[in-house]
Symmetry: D4
């Protein structure tokens, strides 16, 4: 495992890091209190994947504090649900930190050394044009977490030809992330055509009796095609995280 | 229109029916009070389709009274939701009336002269083996209402090949009735492959988060494939009735 | 069937279209990838009705791209759920394309040659003044899809006289679209007076325990009058589409 | 006001009742503790209507104790939701008390001197044959509470003629109780035809998306016809009680 | 009955109104089509109470048209759910018509000759300070409909002393309207203390698990105190209308 | 703290218990695996209150195993939700163990030395006769957990006099447990009259729109009277447990 | 009990307050009518804790009137749910009254003499950074009500180490208030580690299937760890009030 | 891949199987119509895992037919949701077929050669004693599908020690299946301690506000710990299927 923590230990062992500096670094563990927010630097150690921050409902000031602390610790960061206006204001609090904004996904990242860490590949599929925002959240997140990711958008069941075109490739991936709103039927159809596990993401796209994604959620939970498990409505990041853990297992990362 | 009423009028005109007998026949209109139950003999006149009785929640005595009255009036009858035990007991109240029991559909019929009255054909499709009870209710009802009906059962989206096999025939029908429980995705997939209107019937088949058909109902209402309208959960008869009215229009019945 | 595709084939056969031009035209099939959005040009071929776009949740840029591509292909288009402000901005992306805006229905259309393609007529009925927006969506959509359409608005069950006035005409139509919010009782009353099939559209009109159309939706699904099927809350277009498919069948369009 | 209490006071004044007997009678007020159950003998005094007991969920023993105590106090009683088997067993606990069983209404009454106490008349209307159980609970209860009551059953909106037949009589009643399940549209239609206030009773009749009366309840609450107020699902007694209070007001009972 | 219609008939009989003018007046019956909106002038005749308009969701233009037409017909009008800004703009469309705005109730009225038409009095009770908006809608509406109305606001069950203070007066009223949000317990407590019928109005006041009035609605429907019937969440006008119909009956208005 | 564990330690210290016996006793900690069921003997140590078993859904065999193990360990036990038939069968598995059955509460207890351990007293109040089963579960449980408990049943808000009678005593208790079904208004009224904290228990008593206790639950959560917190529907034991922890704090048990 | 009322009585007895002044002071009891709002000055007497005002939905004018009246009466006040903008405007109505604004908690207080009145201490725990707003409402409220309060924020179950760190201290508090949104698991985990009673506050933090706090609410109500009772979603004040009543009991305040 | 199909092809190639026999075998593909039920023999080929049948709602006759057909085809079978009585009757229809019944899991299997096909191991964890039925369904299913499976039952969050004991082993598994009812908190706590992906199974265990597993389902969907995806309520088989597909990927089965 190539986290900063392991490196610090190696540096300590090799004498390149003084005991005092090492202890100062470690004293922030298991978590660092920023007044308002406790950061969990241990997670990378414990789970093999870097921390991500849920940006919605946090002020620009809170996010700025978090970004700076991670930057000082030499850790990567990913913040979800940041709209364009918020990102613009975030700059004032993050001087000299090269933050990247992924507009469609509404994600902010800072990553010192992006790299593919796992063996398998993930395919992100979305049902309609309006589901792409959530699909992009999954796509950017999965890539940031160290996976090779591909995407196929606007593949609705109302035009079965589009779905069938995907069939020959589906078995080549290690995990499929399928985002769909409205009736949420796409994951069932996809899962019926492959032996690759499907992580289904219901989206809040729709109106009337879609009840902000409830219709799609229930549809996916009731799928009669095996091999589907579901994450929360609009939770593109959650799907990416789960897919990434599976890829990590496939890569024998933990052994 | 070939109802008994029209015949009575012809018989009256031709002198084969006395004015008094005709009036006696007509005095039951617009409806006949049986104490407990008012029968709507006008419906056939008004809507072109014979009366049907919802059997659930009615006692065997009530059903017996209804059957006898219809028999005396020379009218056909169809009773839905009659389980096998109830049908058996019904016999005691209906001496000499040749009632027919359709076990899987849980329907009782009495029909003097079954015949195909309309031009178009209806196809009843069901998703899983467990949806067949509802599909059969639709099948038997549609046939009783005077339609040519075919059926294709156990055509789930989890095995897309089964669905695709149906494609070449779908446009030949005037209406499709598609019954599905669990995730309720089948109507969306079928509607995406044809220009034939789909009447979707959510079934209460499933468990857990299917919430007795709610998941399938919401899924169907939110279908992104156009050309789907929905009837109540498990309402096979309702779908058949709607399909029959469409067929009646196609046949120029009213003109 | 008079689609562009059939014309192209005729032109090819007659030598008026070179093989290369024909192939270029066809290569967009079965769908055309616009980066963000896959357009389904096959639908007209497959289903007999032109494509419609759900405008809500799409940016003006996305809609502009779609309109231009359809215009280049010589195809008609209808976009639902476009508010007045969005339509105004859409103009900047659609130079020289004569888009039409139907304000009450919030629909944008572009149609080279509007014409009545089907035999039967559709009647759109709305219950209250506030249901008209949805009713207009159905009205404009049904007309665009090639139907003869009439309308009767503000016909609530609280004044039964208004409903009864409609009775003599109801059997003349091939399909009735009935939009109602609040208690959603109108479709039941209308269906009880006619043999014409009713497509019921619950609207989100109401407050308190109407729960954004849920009360009307449940009411319609539970109608004890046969001959009603239901589309999603506020889905005027969906009702029009279903009605149009029925009219298409009546017209023997597919035979 | 002609309650027992007033009579006791008159008897006391006239010397026909000893002070000690009067006190013994009064010591049960404001309520009598029977161990398990506190009986509210004050209610008649406070509200002008006799006590009623909700029988469901109470054991035969509990009901027997209650009946005996009321009998000893010379008070009337009405028990709702008692099925036939329970009533049969109740006899063992109520020797020599002439209880009356109303089977369809599932009500047990004991009434020393049934009489019409109020001026106005109540009409109980039910929509379908299956709503009659609830309607009967309202009918028997209203009569027991001292009202003149009439009934019209099986008057569904699917056959509007039946409803319209009622119109000329509706204004003659002081209150209308309208019981309906399934789509619950009947109260809206009735209220639109009269100036008599309507107490609507949703029934749990229906299946699928009727959700045990929820569909009818929501429909009634959302009625666009003014003059409707609603009681709990299947609460026939509650409707009768409310109607009776209105009649009591009309009769100037309290003045 | 003192409506305009009856007057016209008298004028006609006495020769003060020409037959032609009478017919012109009558030709607007049963309803007047204003393009968008059908006005129901018959309601006053049929139900004894003037028309009211639900203002929410109607544009200022639509409301202006309605007001002008009623003014020309010499009819009164009441419009609910009009916020202050909308009322201000309404002035531009209603020159020379003396509209009255009741800010807290958000009601606009125009009434040629306000008068008390019925015998009984109505008391409007509200539970908390935040329920007053709905209570005022009921208060203003009931007064406009011709009733004597009183009010008692901010009478919550959390301070039972406030409620008990009301007890001595409750029996003097013909109807009580009780508005309450949050736990909705007030109607139960009030009804337990009186023989006057209670119309309960759940309000959408509250947060969290109040679910916009659902908690209060369910609480009221389940009241174990008899004599409560319920109208829709926030429907102050509906409660006033029902109360007014009861008062009308008490006054022998229809006899 | 007077648990068995503390005694064992004292016995060990004083030499009355051999080290080996002590270790054998302790090896069952922190929990004892019975194959199917892990018993948590640590809980008494950790939380100061003895273990309780939720009996519903466990077979008689499983319960028998549990009882025997607790008996051998010299620990008390309380099992909730055991119906009379189940208790009878349980005897076969628990020879020589003096189990006590509390029929109304549906509770089985075995307690070597019942005693009052805490200073304050708990009052259990129930609203209607049908809520008593849940109230008894709370009553028996609280007593078993070492509290002084009193009860007042059948105190509904519909007869406010019964509630007011309680007022003078309420402040004398340390905690009030208030069980109510239907509209669930009682806790609000009680809490408004005292400074004693109220634990509210919604019961599933009711019908129709009570939705198995949901109405009461929502009502209690939305109470505008402060000082109420709520446990799950029908969870009499949970209320007793919470009340007992409060009493334990009052008694300075932990200090 | 040290309220103003008791002081007034002492002053009266000692002759420092004239009988007339005392009577004037008392005449505002049991509540003071401010036109719109009735203030409950009795509550402090009845319940031992000062009044709090729910600020949401009240206008700045209403709040100003309330503050002034309390100030004149020499009473403390706490207003919840006041956003920063509203507080700013409130100043114009409250000249010379030293109001304090707690921004994160959105609470306004005015307190003449803040003091610790009770013996036990309360610990407020929040699960995530986004739950702090609600936790702060509890924290500020509990302190204002006279309690010693501590806090531990951002203690989520996803990092169990943070939770375990709290364990040694938990038994030292008299009550724990635990605020959590999303899956709402924290109260279960905390309650399993201590014998201190837990007041759980579900927060509306989350998205998708959290349904504005419903997921957390249900999770907490179903906790299998005893010793948890629940208040309404986001009701930080309610939790503080309940905790304060418990502390009051512990302090023997009422005896 | 070692399916029968591959073997048949090898036999054909090597001449051990005649072309005619091979074709006869293949003609059952893609599915075999048994009248009522279509069997999907292709699934093993398409998805790498044998077919499973959902037994609930199917008659013993239907199940018997299915078992016989699979037996003749030399295929394995697993039937879920078969209660003991049904299994007993199934014997009459399955002479000479060695069916195995797993009582706690309610599963019937027939497997010619059980073997471990995949590399990783699965751990099934259940929260309470009552969740074991669902956990067993997952355990038996996962083993049947070719996985190495271990189990840890009765690990509730209310006793965090039990959960922490599991921590050291969690990273050794390839997938964790965690079944929990009531508050459903266990998956969050487990996922927070490991980098192994968690498949969460909400169970319908609980009462009151657990709403048959809805509380647990929502809790799991809203988990703030990443790495959790969810299957339907009580869907132990679904979790096992998904886990098995992941193991298959890990084993490079498809490459």
């Amino acid at each position: 495992m190539e986290t900063n923590i392991k490196k610090k230990i190696e540096l300590l062992k090799s004498g390149q890091l003084s005991e005092q500096d090492f202890l100062e670094y470690m004293e922030h563990f298991p978590y660092k209190d920023l007044g308002d927010v406790k950061l969990d630097f241990h997670r990378k150690l414990r789970r093999g994947l870097p921390e991500a921050i849920y940006g919605s409902g946090k002020t620009v000031e809170q996010l700025g504090k978090i970004v700076n602390r991670f930057h000082q610790m030499g850790e990567d960061i990913l913040i979800t649900r940041v709209d364009a206006a918020k990102f613009k204001n975030l700059g004032d609090f993050c001087d000299g930190i090269g933050l990247l904004y992924h507009e469609k996904a509404r994600i902010v990242t800072f990553s010192k050394k992006p790299e593919i860490k796992f063996k398998g590949s993930i395919l992100v599929i979305s049902a309609g044009a309006s589901d792409e925002e959530v699909a992009e959240e999954a796509f950017i997140s999965a890539r940031y977490l160290g996976n090779n990711v591909e995407k196929e958008y606007d593949v609705g069941v109302a035009c079965i030809a589009r779905v069938l075109d995907l069939k020959p490739r589906l078995n080549n991936f290690s995990v499929l992330i399928v985002a769909a709103g409205m009736e949420g039927a796409l994951p069932s159809v996809v899962a019926g055509m492959t032996s690759t596990p499907v992580i289904a993401v219901p989206t809040s796209v729709g109106y009337g009796a879609s009840f902000n994604g409830l219709a799609a959620l229930l549809s996916m939970l009731n799928s009669c095609a095996g091999g589907i498990s579901v994450v929360n409505i609009d939770n593109g990041f959650g799907a990416a995280y789960q897919a990434s853990l599976i890829n990590q297992k496939i890569s024998g990362f933990d052994k």
